[in-house]
């Protein structure tokens, strides 16, 4: 079975600005800061029942749990490597815990940020061999959930770091773990209550058992009540499939956090508060860190500015910002540069509404955001928000708003598209209720494209293509494709961290399954080609080869001789402001030729340097 990895990396994606000097991080006016670390304890039942294999070679509940834990580990490694995770087994024969004071509780991983070693440890517990190893090291024995919970609460209290979010997930397929032992039941309830009191959220990830899992027997008193009385509380159906379990774990495993909280103003002082959430963001490879060669410890960088002549350190006040246009240098204070970008305070301001069909498919410039009311900021927000949501969706309109995400950021217009809640078959939330925030392009963002106009297809040709389309149809799911570049990167790191000989090969899901497509299409392709292409037409062939540069004559490979530019010519260009028409290599040569120091090799920097030199 293919191991599924969840590689998610949520770092802010910054467009690489030309000059790192300028684009200091935006003032985090609206950013939501958190302190402390998130923690998650997996408390897994290790009783015999957990190891029973399903029919038709289906993995055992234990196996499924381990795969799930592994995917959380790897995703934590990638997305939030500061988070702490622990893995604890209960119902074991052997005991292993910090003070060895608890019987039949086996702490496999103490609360720690997971690394490659942890993942490797989990891998050892998977499959047939894993079951054997588990039997050998831990075994299955008596069950006392109370003791296990007590042990977990010690794990939390032993941590010296500040924990911002504490969660504990119980994985089991036994709805009555103590088989009628009411004293043990009582102890477990007390310990669970203690944990909850200290802010730990307890979830149940119950797995299938033949007679069905009855939550009301025991576990309903153990788990935390839903965050909100209306929230889907206990999933009454146990997880049968790994996908379901992973989805359920994933939904809980990440604490949802707003990117910012803003006022949404309808006008005339009618303001509500909303949280802005990022539900999709381009995951990128994290930046490299520099390590000291001798010790492999990370080094920090410090950037300093000092005066070129007297060598004194320059403080922010000793520096200003400048741009050069033609021969003119325009200077501003840092504050002024920020001020230029300020139009209003952060927030959403309602402009009006438009029918949904006015939202054009091709008006897309950035991934969408999501907003949800913040009752804690302005009470009544949720009611107002819900009413807007219902009415917009009923009338099939979207709200057009002006949006300023943080301080000193110019406005953009966004469409708030209503989205009502949808559940999937397993009653898990598939789409949350709220407004999607779609960014709309300004006039500048729309390019003029000269359309290619050509002949159109006949009905017969179109019908043939319809058959092709029909043969290759599938149900698109947004989470169906992994990013092969990221997958490869992390496999490489994993291999290096674990001293593997070679990284595990990745399956590139973005590649077309050509063989399968050809099989399905059969003769259709040829039939279509006969309809649209003349026999001698070869679409793969290059069109009339590009004209060679004029007068290049026979000798193809000869390189253009370097032409040195006279000072006269350069001066002329500077005067006419036509330096920009020269190519970068020519500009570079010119700088070299006249010994002009440049701050960089960007075209503009070269031009600026030359302009400074020759307009003196």
């Amino acid at each position: 079975m293919r191991k599924r990895r969840v590689m998610a990396e949520w770092r802010e994606y910054y467009q690489n600005e030309d000059d790192e000097v300028e684009e200091d991080e935006e003032d985090s006016g609206g950013a939501y800061k958190i302190s402390g670390r998130d923690s998650l304890v997996f408390l897994v039942d290790a009783s015999k029942e957990m190891f029973i294999k399903g029919e038709d070679g289906e993995p055992s509940n234990f196996d499924m749990t381990m795969q799930c834990v592994r995917s959380v580990y790897t995703s934590k490694i990638i997305s939030s490597d500061k988070d702490l995770v622990a893995l604890v087994f209960y119902g074991t024969e052997q005991s292993k815990n910090p003070r060895n004071s608890f019987k039949h509780v086996y702490v496999y991983h103490d609360l720690d940020s997971p690394g490659a070693k942890h993942v490797q440890d989990i891998d050892k517990l998977q499959g047939e061999k894993g079951a054997q190893l588990a039997e050998k090291t831990m075994g299955s024995g008596e069950t006392s959930l109370g003791e296990a919970l007590w042990c977990c609460s010690n794990l939390y209290s032993d941590i010296k770091l500040r924990l911002s979010h504490k969660r504990l997930m119980i994985f089991t397929c036994r709805d009555d773990p103590h088989v009628g032992d009411s004293a043990k039941d009582r102890q477990a309830r007390t310990k669970a209550a203690d944990l909850k009191e200290t802010g730990v959220v307890i979830d149940l990830m119950h797995l299938t058992k033949p007679e069905g899992f009855d939550v009301s027997l025991f576990f309903c008193d153990i788990v935390s009540p839903p965050e909100d009385e209306s929230e889907l509380g206990l999933q009454t159906e146990p997880c049968r499939k790994l996908e379901d379990l992973q989805k359920r774990v994933r939904a809980k495993e990440l604490k949802k956090r707003a990117q910012s909280r803003l006022t949404f103003s309808l006008g005339e002082g009618v303001n509500l508060a909303v949280g802005v959430y990022v539900l999709a963001r381009t995951a990128t490879k994290p930046p490299a860190v520099r390590l000291y060669r001798d010790t492999n410890e990370p080094v920090r960088t410090k950037t300093r500015y000092f005066h070129a002549h007297n060598g004194g350190i320059l403080l922010p006040n000793d520096m200003k910002r400048a741009q050069v246009y033609g021969k003119k240098q325009i200077v501003m204070e840092k504050d002024e540069v920020d001020e230029i970008k300020k139009f209003d305070d952060p927030g959403l301001v309602l402009m009006g509404f438009k029918p949904m069909e006015r939202l054009k498919l091709h008006h897309h410039i950035r991934p969408a955001l999501f907003i949800y009311p913040e009752e804690e900021q302005i009470s009544g927000s949720s009611c107002m928000f819900t009413t807007l949501l219902l009415k917009c969706s009923e009338k099939n309109v979207f709200a057009l708003c002006r949006y300023i995400p943080r301080r000193n950021t110019p406005p953009r217009f966004v469409a708030l598209v209503p989205q009502r809640e949808e559940l999937d078959q397993s009653q898990t939330q598939a789409t949350p209720p709220g407004f999607r925030v779609i960014f709309l392009p300004f006039a500048d963002d729309i390019r003029t494209v000269d359309a290619h106009v050509g002949p159109t297809a006949s009905d017969e040709q179109v019908d043939k293509m319809k058959e092709i389309v029909h043969k290759l149809r599938f149900k698109y799911r947004s989470d169906a494709f992994e990013n092969p570049m990221l997958q490869q990167h992390y496999r490489n790191l994993e291999a290096l961290a674990l001293d593997m000989l070679a990284p595990e090969p990745i399956e590139d899901l973005t590649m077309p399954k050509v063989q399968m497509m050809d099989d399905r299409l059969g003769p259709l392709v040829q039939e279509f080609k006969d309809l649209v292409y003349p026999p001698d037409y070869n679409p793969e062939g290059k069109p009339a080869a590009k004209r060679k540069p004029a007068e290049s004559g026979g000798g193809g490979a000869e390189k253009k001789p370097k032409v040195e530019m006279s000072e006269e010519e350069l001066k002329n260009h500077v005067e006419k402001g036509t330096l920009g028409k020269l190519t970068v290599p020519v500009l570079k040569d010119a700088c070299r030729q006249f010994g002009i120091r440049t701050t960089g090799t960007k075209k503009q920097e070269l031009i600026d340097a030359l302009t400074m030199q020759f307009s003196k």
């Binding site: 993942v119 909280r261 492999n296 520096m319 501003m332 006039a443 992994e482």
Partner: protein
């Protein structure tokens, strides 16, 4: 390499008719100058490589290559083709003055053509364009018109006209503006055009339609259009780079395609360099980056002694650049390969990723590819499906998965490609239920209040022909960030020691809710306000998070919190509107509306200040102030309706009406009739004492009444009027002595 650059000649009429203007309007000369200024400003600061020339006609002098034997006189080539620079900006600012002559605009056009021909000789330009800004108010000879049109066609020179009035009577379908702003009184086309202008207009139409058939007229703009949109740039826009590729389905079906980036976020291109504060020299600042160990001494290490690594959870894995390149994912080059087809509805709009939309056409001049792609586009369109494709820009770039949607337009067909998310990009958050939550369940009256609000705030309106018109097209608004940046750069360049200027009012207006919508939604919004209790939660312990957002200091004591919030709100309004404390004479409407919104002074006071200004304006007895007065009256009325206070407005209107004969304000009154600015009726504001019929009749001045002194029997509401009027004028500033004509008791009252 000047790929795709353009040469453009700005040809502006500076003749004396350009300096004339309708009352209350900016002269055409000033408007045209602004258009040119803004265009050049953008060209300079965006550092476009296009070359621009400037030709003026109607100048006192003559300076052009064709002038001979009394021909082509009063036409001046002010600047030959060059990249626009700061100098040009300064020249336009200071040296571009109205001339005292008139010149034939067709002659000027010929001069521009000549200039283009001469200056582009031997250089390669992708586009040649002439922009003519004129009021057409000059005798033009149609002699040789055919030859001129022919040469334009041959030289592939395109034309754009900018006129003070629209080319055809009605606004063009997409020209629907945001309603007249306070200063831009609606131009009434057709009316008031001189004979020359009517003739000239015919000639413009003739030229434009013969150049590009029916679309030609789309390149004739009004000055106000040009300021709002970026119409001048349309012709010389750099076209996006072509991306030729093969669309493949399976192993043997290939279609030659070309993609173009059609929509993508335009960023500010130039960044700021750091200079030393005193010398303003870049070279005086040295930047140094050092590496140091994370120990107490911050021991510095040499860059050469460091290696590259990556985090893998709690581990840090050394991974050299060489190894990384060796082991990294390698794509096999540019591709646009279909993975399969899916229903369009399965691809949600909010799942679009990336920052662009690519338009995909069949390869140019390949009709077989065109037919094949057309078959695909039409098949997808009729099945409501889209292609899911693997897209890689080139060998070095990472592959994407995206959707190609069919797009069939009247004139062309294409695929629209958008990137879709990878699994790693998605974040699964579960949010609490809203709809079926008892706590948040809206009542029927709340639902209907929001229903009414939405109806009143629709930004799509039906025009006379029943066609719905979008009154707030975001894709027609230029990004204010650029305009603001260029404005500040320009200002600082010219005045190095001045503080930065405020945001230009029209730029602000572009970002506001359209006035008509604002007016319409007042009442429903008030209703929403009363039906939904919304209260800022004052937290016991001020959390950093909310403080950050709401802009108050986190360390403020609790008691001060509420006050701070109020202040913040006030500041917000103030920043948006500038610091306004009273109704000034420059922009009384804006000031008045701001005062009302900010509630800095009472409603009554704001109204008093406004009427004060109206009286001042009318006191000038010159018709050009009428437009401004009418805008004031309109604002007075709108605000009164939305505040539910009809009394002040109605009594003012009554007294104004009574003063019409004495003050000779007949013209003003006619304008009020045209705009149907009448009393506020009971239907609009409960407290009004007038029925709708009363209001409708109010404006009608019987001819006799006008001549006669106003009859006494009309003044049934006298006492009330007197009370409100005197309260209206009770607190006028002593310095201003206002003659307020009112014949309630005496003829002239002095306050």
């Amino acid at each position: 390499k000047a790929r795709g650059s353009s040469a453009l000649v700005l040809c502006m009429d500076v003749g004396f008719s350009m300096s004339n203007s309708e009352p209350g309007q900016e002269p055409s000369f000033e408007q045209a100058k602004k258009v040119i200024q803004k265009f050049v400003q953008r060209q300079v600061f965006a550092e476009n490589k296009d070359e621009v020339g400037l030709v003026l006609f109607g100048t006192d002098g003559t300076k052009n290559g064709l002038a001979e034997d009394g021909q082509y006189e009063n036409i001046t080539v002010h600047r030959r083709l060059m990249m626009p620079d700061f100098e040009l900006l300064e020249e336009i600012e200071s040296k571009l003055q109205p001339g005292g002559q008139q010149a034939d605009w067709l002659d000027a056009l010929v001069v521009c053509m000549d200039l283009l021909q001469e200056e582009t000789m031997g250089k390669k330009f992708e586009r040649l364009n002439i922009v003519l800004l004129t009021d057409l108010n000059v005798q033009t000879s149609a002699d040789q018109l055919d030859v001129i049109i022919d040469s334009l066609k041959k030289a592939r020179i395109t034309l754009q006209f900018f006129l003070p009035f629209p080319v055809d009577g009605e606004d063009r379908a997409d020209g629907g503006g945001d309603g007249p702003g306070p200063s831009a009184a609606p131009v009434r086309p057709g009316k008031g055009l001189s004979r020359q202008q009517t003739q000239g207009l015919e000639m413009v139409k003739n030229i434009m339609t013969s150049l590009e058939e029916e679309d030609g007229l789309e390149e004739v703009y009004t000055f106000s259009d040009a300021l709002q949109k970026l119409s001048i740039f349309k012709r010389i826009d750099r076209r996006p780079m072509a991306w030729p590729c093969h669309l493949t389905i399976g192993s043997s079906l290939t279609i030659r395609i070309v993609g173009y980036k059609a929509v993508t976020e335009e960023k500010v291109k130039k960044s700021w360099a750091i200079v030393e504060a005193q010398s303003h020299q870049r070279d005086d600042v040295k930047r140094e980056t050092v590496y140091c160990l994370d120990d107490d001494n911050e021991t510095e290490v040499q860059k050469d002694d460091t290696i590259q690594g990556f985090r893998y959870g709690s581990d840090i894995v050394p991974f050299s650049k060489v190894d990384e390149d060796q082991m990294k994912y390698k794509s096999d080059g540019k591709c646009f390969s279909v993975l399969g087809f899916t229903k369009q509805e399965l691809i949600r709009r909010h799942q679009f990723m990336g920052s662009q939309v690519v338009k995909v056409f069949a390869a140019r001049d390949d009709e077989h590819a065109a037919v094949a792609l057309s078959a695909l586009i039409r098949a997808l369109d009729s099945l409501k499906m889209a292609a899911i494709v693997r897209y890689a820009y080139d060998r070095r770039s990472n592959p994407q998965v995206g959707a190609a949607f069919p797009c069939i337009k009247e004139k062309y067909e294409c695929l629209l490609y958008v990137q879709l998310p990878f699994m790693e990009d998605l974040r699964q958050f579960t949010f609490p239920v809203l709809e079926n939550n008892k706590k948040f369940k809206p009542s029927e009256s709340q639902l209907s209040a929001v229903d009414a609000l939405i109806d009143s705030m629709m930004l799509v309106e039906k025009d006379e022909d029943g066609e719905s018109v979008d009154v707030f097209k975001v894709n027609h608004i230029p990004n204010p960030q650029f305009q603001r940046l260029f404005q500040c750069l320009h200002h600082r360049g010219v005045n190095p020691d001045d503080p930065l200027p405020p945001v230009e009012p029209w730029l602000k207006r572009d970002l506001e809710r359209p006035q008509a919508v604002s007016a319409r939604c007042q009442t429903p919004l008030q209703d929403v306000k009363t039906k939904f209790p919304l209260k800022v939660v004052v937290k016991k312990k001020e959390q950093k998070t909310s403080a950050d957002v709401f802009g108050s200091s986190a360390d403020e004591p609790d008691a001060k919190k509420v006050k701070v919030d109020e202040e913040t709100e006030f500041n917000l309004a103030e920043i948006a509107k500038g610091n306004i404390t009273s109704v000034g004479s420059v922009n009384p409407v804006r000031d008045f509306c701001t005062l009302i919104r900010q509630k800095t002074v009472s409603f009554d006071q704001a109204c008093q200040q406004l009427t004060h200004r109206i009286e001042q304006l009318l006191g000038n007895r010159s018709p050009e102030y009428y437009m401004k007065s009418i805008a004031c009256i309109q604002a007075f009325r709108d605000q009164s309706v939305s505040s539910g206070n009809a009394e002040l407005f109605n009594s003012y209107m009554q007294s104004l009406k009574r003063s019409v004969p004495d003050r000779n304000l007949q013209e003003l009154w006619d304008l009020l009739i045209q705009d149907a600015l009448t009393l506020i009726s009971k239907d609009e504001v409960d407290g009004s004492t007038f029925s709708k019929q009363d209001a409708n009749q109010f404006l009608a001045f019987e001819q006799k009444e006008e001549v006669q002194a106003a009859p006494v029997q009309e003044d049934t509401g006298d006492v009330d009027d007197l009370v409100s009027v005197s309260c209206l004028f009770g607190c006028f500033n002593d310095k201003h002595i206002i003659y307020y004509i009112c014949e309630c008791n005496s003829d002239l009252q002095v306050y």
